[in-house]
């Protein structure tokens, strides 16, 4: 097999607090091949956004990366900031949740899209802006309604997100990281943006890392998934396999609690409203994560040995060359859906 585009080996992100350090992300192992689409799913505090920021080298000042973070043969964890700048925006690019704050409000959109090409590819402003025009067309903002000299505030939320996408893909990066790209948008606009991303990735063969809390979005957009909980990957594999089995009780719980799971299924007539299957308790505070399975205290399937050690991410099966792994001593066997 060829070398993966991105490989995390025992990757941890630590945050020093006083004399101690806590791991915001602990011992993550993930591989992402070229052209793959990986979805990282989790709730707030799961570490999914920190994972993305670690790959982009945009972690908050105090946080430190430990372990290996190999991007196309280069270890990003040991890279100097200077070298990193040559990668960021060129080889890897990111789309943020809130396009209003991610775009510069006092710079025309054309200049923002062209900036990367001038900086990374050494193009002249004229060439870069010609290219920016093409990119705007590509993301569905045609001339003359959407000229290069518009400012972000003259656009709607969905249009701004399209500009963000154009900015991100301007230098034809190998890896596109999208952190909750549609969370701030209305559902109908979300559908358009997802369609756009879907088509762009199909056309360019970019690798996608999609961070989201929405199981519907990952299911539709990715072929591979990693479910994170309290700073660890608890289940990973082909999206279809993970959805079919949901071996980790947290993955199962998240699905059952999600109104997409229960709510949009037809409701039995006359039976009153069924309750959602809530997960009791709350995500453990990063300062007070237990030394054993972090989900044990909320788990409905918990057994005695769950509170003795941290379960490893064990192999369950392999399908189409992608391993299905779950970090659970007693993974659920039955299929959620055939």
């Amino acid at each position: 097999m060829t070398q993966p585009l991105l490989r995390m080996a025992d990757l941890s992100v630590e945050l020093p607090i006083g004399d101690t350090k806590i791991d915001i992300i602990a011992n993550t192992n993930l591989e992402l091949g070229r052209g793959e689409r990986l979805g990282i799913v989790g709730e707030s505090g799961s570490g999914k956004s920190i994972t993305a920021l670690a790959v982009m080298g945009l972690l908050p000042q105090k946080m430190r990366v430990r372990g290996e973070l190999i991007f196309d043969g280069h270890d990003l964890a040991k890279m100097s900031e200077e070298t990193f700048c040559k990668f960021r925006g060129r080889r890897m690019a990111m789309i943020f949740q809130e396009p209003m704050t991610a775009l510069n409000p006092v710079k025309p959109i054309g200049a923002q899209i062209a900036e990367g090409r001038i900086l990374h590819l050494g193009e002249t402003r004229a060439d870069a802006e010609k290219r920016a025009r093409l990119l705007l067309d590509k993301v569905g903002l045609p001339a003359p309604r959407f000229n290069l000299d518009l400012y972000p505030h003259q656009l709607s939320g969905g249009q701004r997100q399209r500009v963000m996408i154009a900015t991100a893909i301007a230098c034809e990066p190998d890896l596109l990281i999208a952190d909750e790209p549609t969370t701030a948008l209305d559902v109908t606009v979300q559908a358009q943006i997802l369609d756009l991303l879907n088509d762009l990735i199909d056309d360019t063969g970019m690798t996608l890392m999609l961070i989201t809390h929405d199981l519907g979005v990952v299911s539709e957009m990715t072929n591979r998934i990693a479910v994170m909980y309290a700073g660890r990957v608890v289940e990973t594999g082909r999206t279809d396999d993970v959805f079919a089995r949901m071996a980790h009780p947290y993955a199962r719980g998240l699905f059952a609690a999600s109104p997409h799971g229960a709510g949009l299924m037809p409701r039995p007539a006359g039976a009153g409203r069924p309750r959602l299957t809530a997960i009791p308790g709350v995500v453990p505070d990063p300062f007070e994560r237990p030394p054993y399975c972090t989900f044990a205290d909320r788990c409905g399937f918990v057994r005695d040995d769950c509170r003795q050690s941290m379960p490893a991410l064990d192999l369950l099966s392999t399908n189409e060359g992608i391993e299905h792994r779950a970090a659970c001593l007693h993974p659920c066997e039955s299929l959620v859906r055939p």
């Binding site: 109908t188 879907n198 229960a262 949009l264 309750r275 959602l276």
Partner: protein, 275 residues
Amino acid sequence: MTQPLLKVTDVVREYRLPRPSIFSKQEWLRILHGVSIEIAPGESLGIVGESGSGKSTLARAVMGLERPQSGQIMIGGKDIYALDRTSLRDARKGFQAIFQDPYGSLDPRHTVRTIISEPVVSLERGVSAAERNRRVAEVLDAVGLPAASADKYPHEFSGGQRQRVAIARALITRPSLIVADEPVSALDVSIQAQVLNLMMDLQEKFGLSYLFISHDLGVVRAITDRVAVIHLGRFVEQGPTGEVFDNPQDPYTQALVAAVPKPFSGRRKSKRQQN
């Protein structure tokens, strides 16, 4: 048929647009174009719409916070914008509100006891401190928080617990209608399910009616009996929740339901797998 608990008739709400100069003509933006809905006692009605549809404006009008330019809002048979101060205070005991942001809806300077008892202090002037404390303990118990929470401050709680405090505050005057504006949108999925379940339990226990505003179709489907879809200040479709979502009639509702990403839909995948 029994009398509806909430009857909204032809409500029009406009906002003043900022004038470019003090000499230009005042322009108005019409947010609600004469909307009408009813809620029966014990029923929960969902209002579904996207940003800018006017759903939150409608919520604030029903909460008695923003007087509409025309139309009527009758709660328990009384037009709340036609009441004098004293009668409105009396009527407010019958309808309370829950807001979206569990961090913004509780005053950080007050204890949970002060926060929860505020409606009693303000609306039921004769109630003694002992009786107030008894009721605080009662509603804390109803929302599943320990009695000791009363003397803590909001920052000591998680998002889900804060939303429980907000629900307790809405319950303390024993209202028959609760207006909930996006009450679970800021919460994580697993916590969201806990709060929705709690709201359903409380509804059955106290016979509450909900006016439940949300952009999330899944959430609305889980908790409401009937739903009204609002688009650009007008209702485009109303009906029993299951029927509207399973078999939408209006083109906008159809687009809305179709746009929601769903697990196992296989959408956006087929194309990829052919490549």
